[in-house]
Symmetry: C2
Subunit: 774 residues, 2 copies
């Protein structure tokens, strides 16, 4: 936990330079545009601790896996998003001395991430050897309009002397991943040129043959006047640079504009990369920094129009939620269905930038509500495209049919290797099925089912069909040897959530199947043929639905997380001595496993997903039982608890849970922000407000709201895109106002009252007291 | 499975050279003396596939551990027995051409491991370039009398030409471990000298500072006459050699005798190593090869006197059991309580040469019966000396008291890192306690308990006390999250064997405690003080004993391997399609885990250890239930099944089980003999005959026999050391004859009849028909 950032409604601001915070700031002040991303590394060289990170979405490396004891079925590699060519770099010398903030006095340092307009800036005064002072101002962004373009404006002003300023903008592909398993470098050089006008560098990955071409051009101005400078060019392996020197008088501002285009073989033929990069680059340079920046601000304004949340009366909360929305929108733009959302986005290497079930469980709801439905749809298409790989994965594990999606993946292949997770955390299949339901339920886009969704559902159902077995002892179907969402239990039998989501998948698949059969017989026939669907399969699914075993405690009236759960000693977390927490840093794994403590929502994950199938009393009994023994050591945990707490009217608990994620990275709550930001859990924070405090649900094609407001907030409002309309929901202590910002009328329900918000219309309602269950 | 060795009662013989078998033979023909060991690598260079292996007992390396995903509590290193200085090497040139069996024609190759006398020999004719033929004869051994000494006799005879023979005996410390985790070499040079008379090399390990000095001297004879030859010496890093050339006429035999002493810093001060090595070496050279060999044969005759098993009517079985006894005696000599028995002994690198519970469960019974009781006692002392480390290990895993012995260890510290084994296969603690009982029961040496045993028992009991928890749901104590002996289930609850052996430990500890209290109050007081033993502890242990939960199936009357076992689909192994077997090569780990299939005896391990507490009907029900679903994919599995099958009168099953281990390595049954021989499971084969076919038990201070004889054996006999006497037990179809070879009378029971076999006396009994239960 570390609070050093200034509170501000629209910006993240760091005042004063403390090298101890630098790597944390490098994560927090990251910029990205869904196509590429960049940690907040300094442009000029920096001798202190730093994690250099330039990432190109979808450009990854199958790093040789590391494992102690091999198990059959483990994947051969762990995919990792690549640290790519450093394109921001500008070495700076002042009268021959290199500028390096680790080697000089730094005054008046201020760093700002402007979330409203989407740029990063930095200002400081450096006191160099001999007392020479320079003022530096740097601003950069990656364009969300021209996604291959990044631009930097870098200004140096001698404050108390006149002298030579030398700049060396460069492209450096000789970079490595900090998390390389065998200290390997992943890039080799293909081609380069350093020359007047434009320099470029093409590198490719040692495996998979991803090519990235970075092209750069730059201008230097003094006091706003462009200079014609003689340049010195240098090249070395995977590196090109240009160097130019300027004589600057005291108080004269010298500005370097660096424009870079990064293009990859994912989008261009190998022979066309340099041309594509050059074209993009020259167009951007032609437009110029200020135009590009204006485009950027306008495009961000559009994003905020559909996704902003406004909190009145709590700047800290306001800043936090905007930071989360901003990072989510920087990470995934939804225009490329080959991409997904790594748990750290473009802010670090951890988790390899791969796809987890976080996407379906947390991110899909965010994009569904805050952007055009095509964005979330592309996240679904991503999995559809991986269906064949998921079938192969199931075969590899010995299943004769069906699909098991990977726990961690880049291209559809599994790349995690802990047997208890890789092979056993199969509930992920349920979340992927659920996302299809969620999407269709939210958007009403039923055509998705016949086009893509049903195939995925059917193959997942086939997996469940084969994965269950009939227990003669219980006279029921059971699912043995799984790990549920609570990864603090491994290889358990009959994890309630897994059993439940498996049966739910079968139910939904049958529902869709029957719907298609009855309403789209042509589509149905085609799909049945393609899938070679047998009547007996549907019968078997029905039989499993009707005969699944669910562990349940009659006495307490709670679903049991797994068969043996009640054999554990159950002691609430608040009775544990504080030095035991967090458990994952203080306890051996076996101790954690046999303890009652829960890492993240498990039974409650089911009660969240299938919320309309369980009454409040049931939710309350389970929440009251499980929440006190939950340690929330996954960043994905508190948000779900916040949402259910809201439903139960547990306002204080809800707000406590909300606080645990809201400023997770800004306040470095888990002491790990230097590794990158918790991007996917940011969607959870958004959910806490919109689904929790706002009580937003979609039921029967209606948008349902059931808001409450944390006691010290004056008001909060959020945007919701819903079936063509865009609504702003404003909640105060006494009122709820829904404004329709579009011409499309929307059906909504507030508490138990239904309304239609007409084109550009507004609806007002009284805010009710919360449900009082306790 | 590969059968290429000739059957012989006293020797292992390979006729003809097939490079494809060479690494298997390198394992099988290994020689050792408990202090050092040597794979059957060739003396001369060999360009084909080979696993070079020279091992010094107790000289190990803490290799940086390899793990995919770190868990709290994992050890930092994996200890591995070191491949040490190659001391057997003699490069040979014939008229300038190097002798290399991978590069010439080989005729009349014969390799012999003479188990009666303890040596390895090899003869062959090599046809070199130009058709020059030489006859080569090599014989070597490591002395079990002078344990630091190895000797080689190497004779070359030109058969169809006269020419120059050049020999270069050397010491090469520039060796590596094949299983080095990071391709590292573990040795650095300390000192060396290559000179007339004597050369030496001292190397030390990069970590832990083990020093090994090897000193060599040699003689060359032609036609039996010693030659004075000029020598050329060479040195390079970690390497010394001497070179001598001899002109040999056709038919003239030139013999090189190479003597080596290997001494280590485990036994000598660092400053005294060279002197110690020199002294040993010169004494050996002075004695000469023939004297050393005679000493060796005589010493092996003594070993066979106490351990031989004779099988009449089955040479294959005779050879196999002698091979097993021979290898066990080569591996562990019992005179150094810092040493133990690696699963591969000195025959390979696999399992790191570390100590497993194999020692207590399998090896202790062998040494108890076939050698002086001090030998087995030293295996117990080994664990006693590790008690403090075992307590530290328990603390590390979060226990406030008690001791958890490591699953895999060299010096008492854990060095395995799979959580499901390292942290959860805690039944090993039970086997270590059981070995104490076994030793005292067998030898009657009750003094061991007050001196060493009770401390270990008490600390293990304390561990169990804290490791159980009271299940409110069951109203019983439970043990959650364990892996039993069947490693094909992980992280299960209430593994019957673990629960049972835990309670047995508590019972036995209390029995010993009360016995000490009543009969050795002085010792008891001292121990209670040392251990700070509290009265409540004994009360707690009693409470656990009286209230432990054991999973049980009323319907079948069988103990359940774990709580959820009956939820599995139970299909006998013989109904599995053969291509699925072995499961560990064909199934993913999760599939194995949720299957019913059992790797090795689990419930039956308990019924074996605690055999006198369960009636035959109970054993039969459990055997009938579990054996058909056991895949015996551990080499330790079949022997226990053989023993219980014998008890139940299942003669065919017993013999089938016996066959699965008897020639495991000789016939390369598991296709892994090239990695080394299955040394610890060899003790299991011995148990199959002595405890299985012989029915040997010790009950109430009496040796009990209950023999049967496999149908096609004429007779079998085995030796048993028992409380000062040495008995030979001879079993034929109709009779049992027990001969006392000592002056100490022995009380024995044959079937239900008690006898005393007087000094040098004999007892005869009729052999009964087997119990017919089925």
């Amino acid at each position: 936990m570390k609070q050093y950032l200034k509170e501000d409604a629209w910006s993240i601001i760091e005042e004063g330079f403390d090298p101890a915070n630098h790597e944390i700031s490098e994560s927090i002040f990251s910029i990205g545009n869904g196509y590429m991303g960049q940690r907040a590394n300094f442009e000029e060289r920096y001798g202190g601790s730093s994690l250099q990170g330039s990432y190109m979405a979808g450009v990854y490396y199958p790093d040789k896996t590391r494992v102690g004891w091999w198990k059959n079925g483990y994947p051969e590699y762990f995919a990792k998003v690549l640290n790519s060519t450093n394109w921001i770099g500008i070495d700076v010398w002042v009268d021959g001395a290199a500028l390096d903030l680790a080697a000089c006095e730094v005054k008046d340092f201020i760093r700002e991430l402007n979330m409203k307009e989407g740029w990063l800036s930095r200002r400081f005064t450096a006191v160099l050897e001999g007392g020479k002072e320079i003022a530096v101002e740097a601003k950069r962004f990656v364009s969300i309009v021209r996604h291959e373009i990044g631009a930097v404006r870098y200004t140096v002003t001698p404050l108390n002397f006149s002298g030579e300023l030398r700049f060396m903008p460069y492209l450096d592909g000789d970079v490595k991943n900090k998390d390389s398993n065998y200290e390997e470098k992943f890039w080799v050089e293909v081609e380069k040129k350093a020359a007047a006008g434009l320099s470029y560098l093409t590198v490719k990955t040692k495996k998979l043959d991803f090519h990235v071409t970075s092209a750069m051009a730059f201008d230097v101005l003094k006091n706003g006047q462009a200079l014609e400078l003689s340049q010195v060019f240098s090249e070395r392996e995977k590196y090109v640079a240009a160097e130019a020197a300027v004589q600057a008088g005291q108080g004269e501002a010298v500005t370097l504009y660096k424009y870079v285009a990064n293009v990859t073989s994912r989008d261009h033929g190998l022979g066309a990369l340099i041309e594509a990069g050059t074209k993009s680059l020259l167009a951007a340079k032609e437009a110029g920094f200020d135009v590009l920046l204006r485009e950027q601000a306008e495009a961000w304004a559009e994003k905020w129009k559909t996704s902003d949340i406004i909190i009145e009366g709590d700047v800290s909360a306001q800043q936090a939620i905007r930071f989360n929305i901003f990072q989510l929108n920087q990470t995934y733009s939804g225009d490329d269905d080959r991409l997904n959302i790594g748990p750290k986005g473009f802010t670090g290497e951890k988790y390899g930038g791969s796809t987890y079930w976080d996407t379906e469980a947390y991110c899909v709801p965010f994009y569904l509500s805050t952007a055009d439905s095509g964005i979330a749809r592309n996240l679904l298409i991503y999995r559809y495209k991986h269906l064949e790989k998921a079938k192969e994965n199931a075969r590899k594990l010995g299943f004769s049919k069906g699909a098991l999606y990977p726990m961690v993946t880049m291209n559809g292949e599994e790349c995690h290797n802990e047997w208890e997770i890789t092979f056993e955390e199969i509930h992920r299949n349920g979340a992927i099925a659920y996302a299809i339901f969620n999407y269709v339920n939210y958007t009403g886009d039923k055509a998705y089912l016949s086009q893509y969704g049903f195939e995925v559902l059917a193959e997942i159902s086939r997996f469940w069909e084969e994965r269950v077995n009939f227990s003669a002892a219980k006279g029921k179907y059971v699912i043995l040897g799984v790990t549920g969402p609570n990864e603090y239990e491994n290889n358990v039998n009959n994890n309630w959530y897994t059993n439940r989501i498996a049966v739910w998948t079968l139910e939904y698949t049958l529902e869709v199947l029957n719907d298609l059969k009855n309403n789209e017989p042509g589509h149905y026939e085609a799909l049945a043929g393609k899938l070679n669907l047998q009547d007996e399969e549907a019968q078997k699914w029905r039989h499993i639905i009707d005969n699944m075993y669910y562990p349940y405690d009659e006495e307490r009236g709670v679903f049991l997380q797994q068969d043996g759960y009640l054999d554990k000693e159950i002691v609430p977390v608040n009775e544990l001595a504080p030095e035991h927490l967090p458990l994952n840093q203080n306890w051996s794994w076996d101790r954690i496993l046999r303890s009652c403590y829960i890492k993240q929502a498990d039974v409650l994950q089911g009660l969240y997903f299938l919320g309309d199938r369980y009454d409040l009393e049931t939710k309350k009994r389970n929440f009251d039982f499980y929440e006190p023994i939950t340690v929330h050591e996954s960043s994905l945990s508190p948000c779900l608890h916040a949402i259910i707490a809201c439903e139960l009217g547990y306002q204080e608990k809800a707000y406590e849970m909300y606080l645990r994620t809201a400023r997770l990275d800004l306040d470095n709550y888990n002491n790990d922000t230097e590794d990158g930001c918790h991007i996917t859990s940011m969607a959870g924070t958004w959910m806490s407000i919109v689904q929790g405090f706002g009580g937003l649900r979609v039921q029967g094609g209606e948008l349902v709201l059931h808001p409450f407001i944390p006691s010290h907030w004056k008001s909060f409002s959020f945007k919701v895109m819903f079936r063509g309309s865009r609504l702003q929901v404003n909640v105060t202590e006494n009122s709820i106002i829904v404004v329709n910002e579009t011409d499309v009328p929307a059906a909504i329900r507030i508490y138990d009252q239904s309304y239609t918000v007409g084109a550009m219309g507004e609806v007002q309602a009284q805010r009710s007291a919360p449900a009082a269950l306790s």
